[in-house]
């Protein structure tokens, strides 16, 4: 019997994009009253992990890095069917950009002896999409990004992914362990069962890890983050003419003036 896979799914708590308001006068971003929710693309990652487990067997551990109340996204993942949850929480992580963040996730993936690490395509608040390749690079593992479909091949210890690429797609077989980034909207996330949701929000307790537990206390945080945000301002909305014309000819004339016809 081929052995079962250890699956790790990385999830992130982000301010609800709808709640982030921009103060029209000062133009500053107001995230204070935004509810903290699971990053939406991560629902596709959890669904992909569940489908993989149904096909191959094994366990799914949800992992997140953040303050103590970030455990809520682990509860969401467990409610949907993940078996367990790991919370990387430590003041030392504060201010980490992609480099230390992917390092921490790479170490916990090793700690959990992961065969497959699955992430959402990008997070709505920073949306760099660089964490999954970062995890693979830190561990020297193979990777599959922009994945629309997964086909496990446990007999050869390989995971086949159909990747969306410009103008088409490609099918790539990756040796384990592999880091996967699931494309936003690639599958239909399921709804958590009632009893499982109650369990995840009452009895489930995540395992907590500090930077020291992962042996990276002096490689994380602001000091070890190559990039930093130099400034943030509101994007000025695209100005539109909003001219409703009465006739086709008027429109053609306007398009000719614009030089597109």
């Amino acid at each position: 019997m081929t052995r079962e896979w250890n699956i790790v799914v990385c999830v992130k708590q982000v301010p609800d994009a709808d709640d982030v308001s921009i103060d029209p006068e000062t133009g500053t971003l107001n995230r204070s009253d935004a509810a903290a929710v699971l990053n939406r693309p991560d629902f596709n990652a959890i669904e992909a992990a569940l489908e993989l487990k149904e096909a191959v067997g094994g366990t799914i551990t949800a992992v997140t890095m953040g303050p103590p109340f970030a455990r809520a996204v682990l509860e969401t993942a467990v409610g949907l069917g993940a078996d367990d949850g790991a919370l990387l929480t430590d003041r030392a992580f504060g201010g980490s950009d992609t480099w230390p963040t992917s390092l921490a996730l790479a170490r916990i993936s090793e700690e959990l002896d992961a065969d497959v690490v699955i992430c959402g395509e990008e997070s709505t608040d920073s949306s760099t999409g660089q964490v999954p390749p970062g995890i693979a690079a830190h561990n020297g593992w193979s990777q599959l990004t922009y994945v629309e479909e997964l086909e496990p091949d446990p007999d050869n210890d390989e995971l086949i992914g159909v990747r969306d690429i410009e103008g088409g797609h490609e099918k790539v077989a990756a040796g384990l362990p592999v880091v996967v980034a699931i494309e936003f909207g690639a599958n239909e996330p399921r709804v958590a069962g009632l009893h499982r949701k109650i369990f995840s929000e009452t009895e489930f307790e995540p395992t907590e890890y500090t930077a020291a537990d992962l042996g990276i206390e002096d490689q994380v945080g602001l000091a070890n983050s190559p990039t930093s945000v130099g400034g943030m301002d509101t994007a000025d909305p695209v100005e539109r003419k909003k001219q409703v014309l009465d006739s086709i000819d008027e429109l053609v004339e306007a398009l000719q003036e614009e030089g597109v016809v």
Partner: protein, 444 residues
């Protein structure tokens, strides 16, 4: 831990809806060491709740010792009742000094998105379990007599059993109606309310409404200038940095009405006496709600085998034109329901008979005594709609114009003319006396 535990009959009671009534009953039951499961369809308690409005806290004050960190917006320091004709306002405003002292007549404006979440959290801290984004779609029944043994929800693996179900689903009570625990209300007994929340700077609000620091106002508007030819009215409530502006009138009057609710709000806001108060600001939310205003006649059976009805689901809203109260009645009903469920379960019983103390206590409480006392008002207002909402406001305006007319005529002439105008409108001395007699019950 991989397998999913089965929570059937692990909870003593399920509360459908984590609004004011639901949370009050859950808090009360949790205090009696019952295991309570609150099922809320919104993504947080309050996400699906809308009201005018003023929160009345006499019972909340009993249930929660420390209200210091309760998210109140402003305490009510002024109540105003205005009669609006097309262009005019006649108003009675009261600003009792005592309202500036704790407990501020237990009247506060709140944002339901904040307050309901805080109040439900009191129940969770007392030991209740809250599950959100889960909609109860039906009751679960078993056995020949179809005994209520739990609920069905819209989640997979979504049924869950418990001895008692508390139905706190608000005015749009689909589950109670679907399970045959109550008949749907009639259009005459339900009001459609549409509301705008606009953001202003704090100083603008405090300057426009003569406020200082954290006091606020509750303005009620009646007459054709508020919502035209319909039984209902308009309102303005002040929050810290927002105004709640809206109208509420019977759905029966909204039928084949030339104006739709959003147009009625727009016209109400353009009334000469209202526009200066609500101009500018930024629209931050547009909401609507159905208010059960059928009074005592429309209150369904409160108690069934394995189930009780609380809050708006039980039609517990008082509207006699002057007193507009629902929040205090919801919390009071939640409290008495919670007590009755705890006592019944202690005696190992879940039948209607064992739960009867809930109905009895509610009848003895202000909740049903007020509803009984003002039960006549709904029909009276409907019958006298023409007079109350159109003739009286106009007559008052004409009488005022006459009474306060500045010219070189003797006052006596204007006073006589003003009295005559009023009498004509109210149907002479006998007409006025008859109407006053009907109105006496408002003051007794």
């Amino acid at each position: 831990m991989t397998e999913t535990p089965d929570y059937d009959d692990q909870f003593d009671a399920i509360v459908v809806g984590a609004g004011l009534a639901g949370s009050a009953s859950a808090l009360t039951m949790a205090r009696e060491d019952l295991d309570v499961l609150m099922i809320e369809r919104g993504s947080y308690p309050g996400a699906k709740n809308v009201f005018g409005g003023v929160l009345f806290t006499p019972t909340i004050r009993e249930l929660v010792e420390d209200l210091d960190d309760a998210p109140f917006e402003r305490y009510v320091s002024e109540k105003k009742f205005s009669l609006l004709s097309e262009q005019d306002e006649t108003a009675l405003s009261i600003r009792p000094g005592a309202w500036h002292e704790e407990p501020h007549n237990d009247s506060f404006t709140v944002l339901r998105g904040d307050f309901d979440e805080w109040f439900a959290d009191q129940a969770v801290e007392a030991g209740a379990t809250l599950v959100t984004e889960t909609t109860v779609t039906d009751l679960l029944r078993e056995g020949g007599d179809g005994k209520i043994v739990g609920v069905e929800t819209d989640r997979p693996d979504g049924t869950i059993k418990a001895p008692i179900v508390v139905l706190a689903e608000g005015g749009n009570s689909l589950v109670s109606e679907g399970a045959g625990l109550k008949d749907p209300d009639e259009a005459e007994h339900v009001a459609v309310a549409a509301k705008e929340v606009r953001r202003y700077d704090r100083d603008t609000i405090e300057e426009r409404f003569n406020l200082y620091d954290d006091d606020g106002v509750a303005y009620h508007y009646f007459g054709e200038g508020a919502c035209g030819d319909a039984v209902g009215g308009g309102f303005i409530y002040t929050n810290k940095r927002t105004l709640a502006i809206g109208v509420a009138y019977r759905i029966s009057d909204a039928r084949d009405n030339p104006r739709k609710p959003d147009e009625v709000i727009n016209d109400f806001k353009q009334h000469p006496a209202v526009a200066p108060l609500v101009r500018d600001g930024r629209l931050v939310e547009y909401s609507a709600k159905a208010i059960p205003e059928g009074g005592a006649d429309a209150v369904p059976d409160l108690v069934h085998d394995g189930a009780v009805l609380v809050g708006d689901t039980a039609g517990l809203v008082l509207n006699n034109g002057i007193h507009l109260e629902g929040t205090n009645m919801a919390v009071e009903s939640g409290y008495w329901a919670g007590k009755a469920v705890a006592d019944a379960l202690e005696r190992g019983r879940t039948d209607a008979g064992a739960l009867q103390p809930y109905a009895e206590n509610l009848e003895d409480s202000f909740v049903l005594r007020n509803l009984e006392h003002y039960n006549w008002f709904g029909d009276f207002a409907a019958k006298e709609k023409e007079f109350l909402f159109s003739e009286l406001p106009q007559a008052l305006t004409q009488a005022e114009l006459e009474y306060f007319k500045m010219d070189r005529e003797p006052k006596q002439k204007h006073v006589k003319r003003a009295k005559q105008l009023l009498l004509e409108a109210t149907g002479g001395w006998t007409g006025a006396a008859k109407r006053a007699w009907k109105f006496r019950r408002l003051l007794t």
